[in-house]
């Protein structure tokens, strides 16, 4: 194997522990996306992989070689920094060419690659500018360009698209996907807050929270079978609705009682020992449908309506204190604030978590 191996990696800044022991194996050529709340340690982890941050504990292997003490320049990586880290005294062109010049590529090759990257990133017009004369998004693109010009073993992207407009973001995302395909041997690690990016790009997603891994898996698996409440809420936007419930019947199917007394049956198997325990009942906003019939999961009052064009968001009150249930219904709806609405959903798309947050689905 010649990918990346992290064994109980830890990091602390003085007394502050930031990474609490990460075990992770990334295969060569894999595209792994790190997601997690702001401040959970994604950048730190990336910087440790790059060798920019000393590893406080654990072992890291790149291509089966222990790299804890290997300097960054020998690790064969390219990186897009969250803060761009452009060379302020170099033009856009030179910023992008720098790495290749260091690697002693031929002049023509450098020019070819810089121009092609600039083309992709729509930077051609700005090649002669200094970073300080660029807009925020343009700077970010230079940072991306600097990385994709090169030919490393591992690519590290730290929120590379956060300052781009939607169209450019999509285009760049696709370019990164293409790059990934073209360079089958190159491992890519990507940090993003954008669900769409994570879902479309990743072979596997790593969900981090406060310095440890919550779940690792292919995107759809994470979406469909979140291992715990944290992942359930984190993946998907708006987040999965969680409604406190009590298990009232166990077996191949489980019956729960929501606050308010409504009972629902889920096709999740639970052991008899679970009977009577409190649990969390979860359903994604986009899995909810407005029910016109008598069969429904729950009902509530519409507090806010957000019409986004494509979809409409309904904020429903009355089920969980201080936290509205959100429903995401396609199209533009004919519902008004204050209406009482009943919702239903596919049984297969319902989730149940135990008191500690673990999912009951295997």
């Amino acid at each position: 194997m010649s990918g990346l191996q992290l064994k109980d990696i830890r990091k602390s800044y003085g007394a502050v522990d930031v990474i609490h022991g990460i075990d992770l194996e990334i295969k060569q050529g894999e595209f792994v996306v790190f997601v997690g709340p702001s401040g959970c340690g994604k950048s730190t982890l990336l910087r440790m992989i790059a060798g920019l941050e000393e590893i406080s504990g654990g072992e890291m292997y790149i291509a089966d070689r222990l790299v804890n003490d290997v300097p960054p320049s020998q690790r064969g990586i390219a990186m897009v920094f969250q803060s761009y880290a452009l060379y302020p005294h170099m033009t856009v062109y030179d910023n992008m060419a720098f790495g290749m010049r260091i690697a002693k590529e031929s002049k023509e090759e450098i020019d070819r690659r810089v121009r092609s990257a600039a083309d992709i990133l729509q930077l051609t017009k700005y090649l002669d500018r200094l970073p300080k004369a660029l807009s925020g998004g343009q700077r970010q693109r230079v940072a991306i360009g600097r990385a994709i010009c090169r030919d490393p073993k591992v690519f590290l992207f730290d929120e590379p698209l956060s300052n781009l407009d939607a169209a450019l973001r999509v285009a760049t995302r696709i370019e990164i996907a293409k790059l990934n395909e073209a360079m089958a041997d190159t491992t890519m690690i990507y940090v993003t807050h954008d669900q769409v990016e994570a879902m479309t790009l990743a072979d596997r997603i790593v969900v981090l929270s406060a310095g440890h891994i919550e779940q690792v898996g292919p995107p759809l698996e994470l979406y469909e079978r979140p291992a715990n409440l944290f992942v359930a809420r984190f993946i998907g936007s708006p987040a999965m609705n969680i409604i406190p419930a009590k298990i009232v019947a166990t077996g191949a199917e489980t019956t729960v009682e929501l606050t308010g007394g409504k009972r629902d049956v889920l096709d999740i198997a639970t052991a008899a020992s679970e009977n009577g325990k409190t649990a969390s009942f979860g359903v994604r906003p986009e899995d909810l449908r407005v029910s016109t019939g008598d069969s429904f999961l729950f009902e509530g009052t519409v507090a806010i309506i957000e019409a986004l064009g494509e979809v409409t968001l309904l904020y429903i009150e009355g089920l969980v204190a201080n936290e509205p249930i959100i429903a995401k219904i396609p199209g533009i709806l004919d519902i008004k604030r204050g209406d009482k609405v009943r919702f239903t959903a596919d049984k297969a798309k319902l989730h149940l978590f135990d008191a500690s947050g673990k999912s009951y689905r295997a």
Partner: protein
Amino acid sequence: MIASARSPLVWVVHLSVILLVLLWTLPTAGLLISSLRDKDQLAVSGWWTALSTSTQSLVYRAPGADKQVEKDGKFVISGNLLEGQSTGLVSAFGFNSREPTAFQPGQTADLSDGERLTVQADGTFEIVSDKGMEGTRGQRIFYTAAVPPRFTIDNYIEVMRAEGIGASFINSLTVAIPSTIIPILVAAFAAYALAWMKFPGRAILIAVVVGLLVVPLQMSLIPLLKLYNGVGAFLGVPAKTYVGIWLAHMGFGLPLAIYLLRNYMAGLPREIMESARVDGASDFDIFVKIILPLSFPALASFAIFQFLWTWNDLLVAMVFLGTGNDSLVLTGRLVNLLGSRGGNWEILTASAFITIIVPLIVFFSLQRYLVRGLLAGSVKGG
């Protein structure tokens, strides 16, 4: 800090720094060792020889005739050539300046007038005569001996004991501290205006500041003292005051201060200033709350130099503060110690080290303001 800086290159760095430091301190080390040496040795042998035992040809003057004792009917003067030294070994001796190594230890030399001189390897000697010796001056004994290193702090004691040194020390401080702080303040304001405020003629002003760096101090002294005397006479106060010298030091230090500080301030990220401006801060607020704290490295470096110059200055102090006993600064006092012919190196060496202490303390304590990453985390993308 980038991880794993442990590469073979690091050793190259350590070695080259050691080499450079050696090159730079070697001359000073010479001074230090010299300052701890006996004053007569200074001009005779290189300072590095003081570090090891060396073979030297020396002269010893035996006690005069008044020290003779009568023993067995013979008159004897005895003693030790290597007085006061625990070790040392005499390898030859003589009594005539022409043949200083004529005899081996243990041998007996016949002095001209019936006296006999014996010197042992450990330095003990005996002059024996049959009749009473005369003359106040004793016999010269030339000898060659291996002499171990010998150090003394007498030179320092002599300097420290000098009269009025304490007062001069305080005078120096009184001159140096305000002469350091005031120009920094004044220059920082001016530098800020030159770096971040918009007004016509800014570039010219910067050039003028650079141009004024070159004005030779000596040129200014007479016109300025004339001015001081005029003002002093007009106000009916003495012309030579502390305020006068502070202002003088400020005037002479300003061009460099403004030049250095402006350069530094111009390099601060403008977003920070803009951000403060949007937060409602006036120029004054920005200066005090943003620029000053962020300019600490530049302020500290200039402070180091300005302090140093005012501390080591003699000329400006002599002219603007006067040469009188009660207004003498430390440098003046020490230079005066050297005597009218200025040749007392042993005092020079010691006083050089005494004056160096305060600037070094200042340097060491201000050095920690030359910090890394002061601006880190403030702006994204650059």
